[in-house]
Symmetry: C2
Subunit: 225 residues, 2 copies
């Protein structure tokens, strides 16, 4: 249990729960966050607070410019974040092209140079926005690719991508987190939180979060605008 | 043939040949290069010259900081680039962790926002340095993952990663390029070229390139230091 693991830490509800879960096993954590020109920069501040609260071994924040590609309401100021339910049957405009693929690719590089074999990612395929790169079949395919991509893995080292929340409902995630003592008031999930980290209460992410607290029977600590 | 394709363009011999190959079919090209803190920045200048010479539709240069991870002689100034043959049976220190995975991940994002379905990459698994992410099984696994990762592909759009040089020897690549009129004096392959783009003649990449010209029976136009 001395070997560090990598936790992708956005600062949202899901990744905070993953961090708490891993920390409860006393595994040393290298937290990895991305500054990717997202609207919700306050999420990053939340990630920094969480990394400090859980005393991670190391917190790397990698600057990447997904705005160069545009195409998402989360990174392109010319596209509005819709209120929830506006796009019932499609992948929403808040989808960022290849986001998890890019994030996990950096995690692979970090895993290799840090001799880490376990990567944790808080994706969730139950109460989620329908992003293709949150589904189990995607994660499996990424792991298969990763095992062929690295000097370490082709030399026989294992590599696992863990998604402990993937089959849980938002309410189940919250219940698990509350057991672990997660202070969800310190997390930011909103796609368009204000500068103080207060949530809009309208976007998909806010809706799933609010419903989760309701269904879990837990008072919602989220600060709304 | 009006639909653009993406060509990953490093400015080296291989990617120049791929660009010439694709351009000979009159396919519009979006060239994608990376400024990744590499020692061989002059390679990027070569990429710009090639993009201009082949009149690509668009040339995107994405800044990414692989130095944040270190671990390679190509991005970490504290590790020396070895002369060829110093590491006969291993993956060399010039290996950059997860490099092609990160590059291809950005290519996926660009493919999606540009409605591109064909990505070209000049990797080569014959006369190469033994990097795991240059092998056909890796490319296949990446393509399988990519098809599960994107809104476009899960909605039924095709996505292909083409590696037209993967089974060719360096000499065969050069012969093909010469037929296509590639001016190899404009390309930079050396891992530690000087500021004027002149090659060291000593590193793995120089050795494969020099041997390639010799075996192809083509005068080597490389400018050496």
């Amino acid at each position: 249990m001395d070997k560090p693991v990598i936790v992708l830490l956005s600062g949202g509800l899901d990744s905070a729960t993953v961090l708490a879960l891993v920390s409860s096993r006393r595994q040393p954590v290298i937290a990895l966050s991305f500054a990717y020109g997202q609207r919700h920069q306050v999420e990053l501040e939340a990630a920094r607070r969480l990394a400090a609260a859980y005393e991670v071994k190391e917190h790397r924040v990698v600057q990447i410019d997904l705005r160069a590609f545009g195409g998402s309401a989360l990174t392109d100021d010319s596209i509005a974040v819709p209120a929830s339910g506006q796009e019932p049957d499609s992948i929403p405009v808040t989808y960022v092209p290849a986001r998890n693929t890019i994030f996990l690719s950096y995690a692979l590089a970090l895993a290799e140079v840090s001799a880490v074999t376990e990567i944790y990612l808080g994706v969730n395929a139950v109460d989620y926005s329908g992003y293709p790169d949150c589904r189990p079949e995607y994660i499996q395919a990424f792991q298969a690719m990763a095992r062929l991509a690295l000097r370490s893995t082709v030399s026989g080292q294992p590599l696992h991508i863990h998604t402990p929340l993937i089959a849980l409902s938002k309410a189940e995630i919250i219940k698990r987190g509350i057991e672990l003592g997660v202070d969800y008031s310190q997390t930011v999930s909103c796609y368009q939180a204000d500068q103080d980290g207060r949530a809009c209460g309208q976007c998909d992410s806010c809706r799933f979060r609010r419903q989760g607290f309701l269904q879990a029977g837990v008072a919602d600590p989220t600060r709304y605008q």
